[in-house]
Symmetry: C2
Subunit: 371 residues, 2 copies
Amino acid sequence: MSGDRVSGACGECLARTWLIARLAGSIEIARHQRRRLREILALSNEKLIAGLAGVRASQICDELERLDVDDLREATDRAGLEAVCRHDAAYPARLSDLVDAPAALFVAGGVERLVAMAGGDLEDGPRAVAVVGTRRASPDGLEVATSLGRGLAAAGVTVVSGMALGVDSAAHAGAVVTSGRTIAVLAGGADVPYPRTKARLYERIAEHGCVVGELPPGFVAMRWCFPARNRIIAALAHMTVVVEAARRSGSLITAEIAADLGRDVGAIPGPVTAWRSAGTNALVRDGATLIRHASDALDLAVGIDSREPALPHLPVRLRDLLGEVADGRDTLAALTRSPRDVHPTLAALTELELLGHLRRAAGGRYVVVPP
Amino acid sequence: MSGDRVSGACGECLARTWLIARLAGSIEIARHQRRRLREILALSNEKLIAGLAGVRASQICDELERLDVDDLREATDRAGLEAVCRHDAAYPARLSDLVDAPAALFVAGGVERLVAMAGGDLEDGPRAVAVVGTRRASPDGLEVATSLGRGLAAAGVTVVSGMALGVDSAAHAGAVVTSGRTIAVLAGGADVPYPRTKARLYERIAEHGCVVGELPPGFVAMRWCFPARNRIIAALAHMTVVVEAARRSGSLITAEIAADLGRDVGAIPGPVTAWRSAGTNALVRDGATLIRHASDALDLAVGIDSREPALPHLPVRLRDLLGEVADGRDTLAALTRSPRDVHPTLAALTELELLGHLRRAAGGRYVVVPP
């Protein structure tokens, strides 16, 4: 069953994945019934089917019996994904702390890279911090999330998030620009860039980091998949840091799961008058660690010395670049103090592009996107 | 020595006060030598004098010997102040937790009121919370400070602060409007409104609460008096809440002294990108309680149920009043939903006046002060 490949997903786990996707429309949870969702996802295949009404159950049983897992493997290949299941040595052991651990993960960017970035258990495996928060982040929140992503990745820590608009994407963007150590956990298939507007970020993450999902290739996320996805984010990371969050926010689910798993929880404080800080300030009041910048997270949760991360200080302020149109290395060098500064400037341009402030046009030129 | 009056200051303590004022010019501390100041203030009269150079010491000894304490008592009367010393039953026992407790306090508003608002020890005496912060507060910070002052005072808690520009005055103003339960601790004489621009607030505090100082009437504060004053603020209160503070801020001294005394310390969080929050966020990271509003402070530090404080919700938004010119109760009633709402509206107008947004003109009319 466990297979002798370095990575792979066994037939049982692929069938499980198929079953969850097949039942997707039946899985319904009210906002206050998050616990119920986790109970559902922890059920065995038999119990999942037993929960359905008679005729439907026997139909799904038949389909499951006739299922050709090689078809699923081929579909995975065709989608450019790799798969790894919980019976495989490459499956991140840290996910097994979840009672409802995903049976399999589909990975864009490769299982090998997933292992290098978040494989093994927490004690011995690579260090990871989840950075999550509201989709409707403030400019301040976006800046803090990007800077956290940058600082953590620069220190060799993997940045885990959900690629959602706002805080999540900003954190990934910061990491992609720096070292690429980042994992995006999608609620749907790992081959389906979601949200669509982050397709370019998706490509960059798949190129330098990983995009993972527990549902089969092509699966379009339904509402329940988002809170379910959050448990994977929490379980992959040593610590979950919430950047901005309203009182009732998906990222607080992630923080709660992290706490339940005994992982560290951190939160960026904010004005007591802002709705975006209501969730994070409440977390700190309830015992989460107050985080101000990457060093704070490195310091306390990941056990890395709090000296400034290795990333060189950007020689030009990102915003100052917005007025310029750069069309090559020479122009960039002229914009900066010395040729040595070109690399961070390119990084800054890429960051601005990922954040949607710049768009790359023909001839390698950049065009400023109006806010 | 202790006297048989309900309140009063004995000759020894008045002489002590005179001596400190006499030596004021000799007391010099560098910013990093705050501990040294506290050691100086804990010295006996003899040791204080012994610390001076020979000729000057004998001159001051002579003056001290010839000192007529009745002159000091008369000066106190003339300034409209009352005095209480540490040998008096009315002296707030909670101040005795300080190794360098002030020998005497001069009080505008009356010693009886001081006793009612912060007399006795912490366990049995009236509850008090210090609200302090930067002079250069943000509009948000001012709003939070005012609202804290209002919420605490409405719940019967005394609001202690230093009447400085910014956070301090805003906290006093909130308390004055509500129930008047507030104590301003001045660095100079309690009869010298400082800063001058807060003279109107001074009057209101002296009318409904207390203004106190450890230095004799007429004394103009020198630089060292401000950190010294902070120890009195911290010692009078069950908890010190810092609203906004830079990394190196006088209000952090107050918080530190409060912590040293074993009192609770709270802080209002703020954006990690704002200098005004650097001090408060650091406090929370170091273990201070995160405070969002008065209920949080009442809840944790003062042991009062966190249900909303008794103050009725203001029926009109303060800012909405700024466009109006009210000239009497009838007009006010027309502005609000019902005659029952007149009182909070008057309170709101007074608050706006204390905050400097309105000025009272002839005929009881209000004039809007341009920002």
